[in-house]
Symmetry: D2
């Protein structure tokens, strides 16, 4: 009894994307990891083949698919062990701000480009002193005539180098209450006054470009505001459910990759009559990990359906986010333990990449500590029964 | 989005059983724990009210309900923190042998009594030297004319004192191959030659009677065989999926009880401005445990549906069995840790009982080690993908 | 290379105490557990044989031994699996207040009785609303002429029923600053105005009597003050190092008991060719637990020497306290897991007692949460290197 | 009370080595990591300054120091976060074979060069199909006239590229019993018929060269045998105690580095009033890790003394080996978790290196699984008490 019932069209899409990854993407992974960047024309290829923003409506150039298409893309990237191809940030995190909050004109201007990969997007909230605590952001956006002048800087911005369009959060310096001060803006990357910083050397997800952004009297038209003035904080919060859910989907698929690879290695070892596979301790470790994975998957799949049904599952999504990302760290590490010397030799063992890639999953979209705080607060402040 | 969609009838049944527990059962728990026995007329009361064997067909005196009624009974017993009321062994483990394998005559003879609680059943497989390894059982059943003569002994038999009818596994001493030697028998408890031993002093589930059974030239009619001759091993295996699934349902509900109680204690503490509830470490511990619980519940609920749909989910059930019972141990213990001194004072803290009761859940119906062996073997011997 | 070098006299003392436990104590354990009290004449027998307060100076009737004699008594009680014989509270926690802070007259009056077991002592700090946070205690001690009038109540007092003499902490209601308000007093148990409450039903350590104390205009002579007026808080803090160290010694010895018993059970199982002992997963679990134990023991033994050398090792003692008591919980539980069905049958398996007894070790003398707070504060507020 | 009492000379040596690391080594780490090799003249510099083989006797050019000098070198390398400077393999693992088993002539020929760094050594036991199970090695050494002809291959050989002299284990193909068949040999790296393979791409310890060795009718003089003929297996086993002990010393020091760095980061964060350091959950995590470290250190320090006293502590060393290396993995990972986004940015966070380097510690010198097997076997086959 599968919790999610994929249709034939879904299965076919998955197959198509899987082939695409094998032929057009994976052969270049090493090169792009070294370059710390995925070439722009690859984004276009992804777009042309329908692998960006599958849920965008047809009116804006999209395919108008259901959210399961998004899930499929995220899962297949993780199962291909290439988290550095961080396309879902664009498709499922940033573009949804536009589909949900943009004016018709903004949608017409940007969405078609987003779908075909001509426009790569980024979202810029975090600042050197405002990470978990977004309310303390200091980047300012001041309205002046028909322009908005932006000053400040943002950091840890994914797609920071590649991006053409930025969903930016900034505050009105006149308004003290952060819940009223913050607005969102659509800033094109070539706007004068916006400078991209140097890339961070991350320990994993090497192909994915992460950088700082500097705004120095950066001037955008007043039509660049996204959503109502002062509503930024609320808009950001509204999008977190999906943002965290896609992290969980990715984390589960990444654990799946690690376990699949390791189980296959053990199957081979068993065929080869090697010691490795005969150890009961190792076998039990595999049994425990696969069980953990299956439970997470059941939970996350249930959440996907709830999310698609429009339910408020922010509490459950916070649970999924911290638990699956923690688990991915643990599983990738323990699989490598089981493989022993094989697990430490990069050339032969793809788990080394997974092991390093998964670590950021528990940071962005809210750290695991923040997730637990949300959960505990919700649990203790309500009077609802758990069951 | 609930994985299981209970109907109004289900909800009503749950309410009715919950009330029954509160008025007719829980006030006597201490007394029955001390006596290490639940009085026979309580079984009759359970039966009369429809709380035994809900799935037995109407033709045999049952209500012909679906398996969710069984799930409801198991859950409510655990949430009432009274695992010692081990009624589900009778209803969901032993009686199913009769409904599945008995002749029409056997069904007519026993099922109506099972449903109303006049007949309490037990299943006797385990022997002093045959626990996990049932194949090594030595109790013999020898056909002689129109009788079967049974010799040997069984141990750890739940309902051992109260039982009126026993599903017994015994071997043909002539046949060496255990997969052909073992047959099942229906033995009435007052058959001459059958003696019940003394009760075990268990660390938990005190109300539940567990004992030894001794067979000394115990003679039953040949019509007492249950199922085909020599098919015993296979019949036992066939029933394990449900047996393990009900353990998992019980374990999850028991964790639910512990967490519900603890969360409520913290809510009160927060209202009282006590230190306890303000500790972040404790709050995070709660968040982690509730998350673990929710994942297990999603998985087990999915399994319940698969089981009802007649799918073979023996692998997944093994996962559920070890994982949820381990988790119940861990959760009951960690909740008590959080409560500190409150957690050690029996009079005030019901978790002490839960903490002691849950320990046997990981033993019967196959130890957790056996579960992991099944899982590992299945994983490594197949070539199926995990996802 | 042993960290502690016991002399022949130490070894002999250990042997003598071990025999004493076997002949005079253990045969009565069940009875005293049920009575929730150890008879007073057993205390006298302990005293007469030199097993109480071994370090008290000869001048006051003691043997003037070194602290290793105390360690031996604590270890042997735990290895006899009888934490309910909580003699070390008297010998190593309460009496040291007298030896350290009492006047010559007070010492002469009480110490000889403490040594021979005529006087059983208790320490009463905790109140319903003052546990971890002693500063918030509200029991008052008011000086009036040559008397002190005590009002209030204390709770969770070990030896609460048996005690003849109480070291009591109470505050001067005139003084707001808790660091100046609290004084200690020696209160004889038969003083009018002092009433002992009912005993708590604890989940473990059943023989040990824990109760409430009520002071209602309880009048003691002014000579009953212990130590300088207003110094109570500091005096209490001073004694915590030894108090926590003896908890750690006890916890380690209790883990030793559990592992010793389990390893022997496995040795026997191996001789019997049972499945149990052949499981690699179980063998590895044993290896891991014994290793954990050996590390803790090395650390605690080092601390014992430091403590005897008069060093300030309050930080290390806090580490030992939380870690060894957590470990004892974990080890007793995991050993029972390994034993499976054997581990749940009280009559046969002494680990059930250990499992229940150890839980309080992490509560008194400062909860584990308080320990971690002390450690973290110390680590983060100093600038010392860790190595 | 320190378990090891270092003298002033020891402290001075430590200071001297620490300065040397800072000035002569660490500035080049990146370069050598990229080259996957430490230049030979650095080995000479280490030698000239007395940092290689400190315990070799003066007669052979050494300083004749005690083993604590070795411990100091190992600790300081780990605390400098440069496990890739794997000098202790040469000094404390390979050279001891020569000091213990070599003839006077062999000692005179090789030891002085080992001490000054002119001769870099390696030990070659492992083969593609003989890792944990050394008995199954197939490389042959056949005596012919006054020569020995070697054929076969070895793998995972540390210092494989740099080495000038190899302690090689090979078997007599005529002798079936592995305990009699294996002998050790001293093979100079430039012997014809010996070829070094390509380097492995390891996930950590990048500067350390690990490679394969191929022997093709490689001919050495009969005087190249090390120790008695056929005694190889026993000689290898004899050296394992020290080999595993130095791994444990290294692992503990590496954990120390990670915690020291993280605690300092938190101290700074506290001074900066950042959120990070105020989280109780993080503070408790630090407290737990430092406690774990202190216990391991106490245990390992005790072992160092026992080892120096010539005791057989192979059981305890196996405990130390698996536990400290597991712990180093766990601590490096959990510290990075605590640092969150800081922990994933390589340029800023040295823990990334530690995290990747420590993983091999649990593999060489016997995997942790092999360690646990040794411990379990020893525990269960003896009848000794644990305490
Ligand atoms: C690879 C990567 C990509 C990213 N991409 C983007 C992006 O595209 N756009 C973007 O805007 N941001 C991005 N981020 C930033 C990310 O969202 C932040 O790093 C994250 O929200 C944490 O903020 P911080 O780093 O400032 O940590 P802080 O908020 O300073 O937190 C530091 C630590 O303190 C803890 N903490 C914080 N508050 C509390 C509290 N109240 N109580 C207890 N503990 C607390 C945190 O859990 C954490 O451990 C990215 C980060 C990474 C690493
Ligand atoms: C409270 C209670 C009620 C029970 N009720 C019933 C009942 O009503 N009817 C009934 O027939 N039985 C009943 N049992 C028995 C129960 O099913 C058995 O205890 C269980 O199957 C384990 O068998 P055993 O006790 O003989 O342990 P063993 O089979 O002897 O196992 C001992 C240990 O060895 C491990 N082990 C066994 N085989 C292997 C292997 N191949 N590899 C690795 N490890 C292995 C096990 O996991 C376990 O840890 C009950 C038990 C309890 C505790
Ligand atoms: C068997 C037993 C015997 C005892 N014997 C004695 C005795 O002989 N004499 C005596 O005086 N007392 C005795 N005690 C009392 C014992 O010392 C206290 O129970 C203990 O100090 C904890 O205090 P509390 O129970 O009031 O818990 P609280 O202080 O109310 O703490 C409740 C919980 O909150 C946590 N907490 C408290 N403060 C903080 C904080 N600042 N931050 C985060 N978390 C916090 C605690 O860790 C705990 O989990 C005994 C207790 C027991 C259980
Ligand atoms: C970085 C590095 C440096 C090294 N340097 C050297 C060197 O200088 N010289 C040298 O000779 N070797 C060296 N080695 C080799 C190392 O000693 C071996 O890798 C190690 O002994 C394990 O052997 P293996 O890799 O063949 O694994 P295997 O022995 O094949 O083991 C594979 C897995 O099976 C498990 N296993 C093995 N036997 C059993 C059993 N009986 N029961 C249960 N489980 C079992 C192991 O724990 C492991 O998980 C090095 C290795 C590494 C990674």
């Amino acid at each position: 009894m599968e919790i999610i019932n994929y249709t034939d069209e879904h299965h076919e899409y998955r197959q198509r994307f899987r082939s695409f990854l094998e032929t057009d993407i994976l052969p270049h992974k090493n090169q792009w990891d070294n370059a710390q960047l995925i070439p722009k024309d690859i984004w276009k290829k992804l777009g042309k083949n329908g692998f960006l923003c599958p849920t965008v409506e047809k009116a804006y150039g999209g395919a108008g698919q259901d959210f399961l298409y998004s899930v499929i893309v995220i899962e297949e990237i993780a199962r291909a062990n290439y988290l550095g191809l961080f396309a879902y940030l664009h498709s499922e995190v940033v573009v949804p701000y536009i589909t949900a909050y943009a004016t018709e004109a903004q949608k017409m201007a940007y969405l078609p480009g987003c779908v075909v990969g001509d426009i790569i997007t980024a979202v810029a909230m975090t600042e050197p002193d405002a990470g978990s605590d977004l309310a303390s952001m200091v980047t300012t956006a001041v309205e002046q005539d028909d322009h908005i002048i932006i000053n400040g800087s943002k950091t840890f911005i994914s797609n920071g180098v590649n991006c053409d369009l930025i969903v930016l959060a900034a505050r009105d310096p006149q308004e003290k209450n952060p819940h009223k001060a913050i607005s969102l803006f659509l800033v094109e990357a070539d706007t004068p006054g916006l400078k991209k910083g140097v890339q961070f050397e991350k320990m994993g997800m090497h192909s994915q470009d992460t950088t700082e952004l500097f705004f120095n009297n950066c001037k955008i038209p007043v039509s660049g505001r996204l959503g109502p003035k002062g509503a930024g904080f609320k808009l950001l919060m509204n999008k977190l459910q999906q943002e965290r859910l896609v992290c969980a989907v990715s984390a589960v698929a990444c654990s799946e990759f690690c376990l699949e690879w390791t189980v296959n290695y053990f199957r081979q070892a068993l065929a080869d009559k090697s010691h490795l596979a005969r150890s009961q301790a190792s076998q039990f470790a595999l049994a425990e990990m696969v069980t953990e994975l299956k439970m997470e998957k059941a939970f996350v799949n249930g959440l996907v359906l709830s999310h698609m049904a429009g339910e408020n599952v922010i509490l459950e999504t916070s649970m999924a986010k911290f638990s699956t990302t923690d688990s991915a760290k643990r599983i990738s590490s323990r699989c490598m333990d089981l493989l022993e010397e094989m697990g430490g030799i990069e050339g032969n063992c793809p788990l080394v990449d997974a092991f390093n890639d998964v670590r950021v999953l528990s940071i962005y979209a809210g750290t695991n500590e923040i997730m637990k705080q949300i959960i505990a607060k919700e649990l203790l402040s309500s009077s609802k029964s758990l069951c």
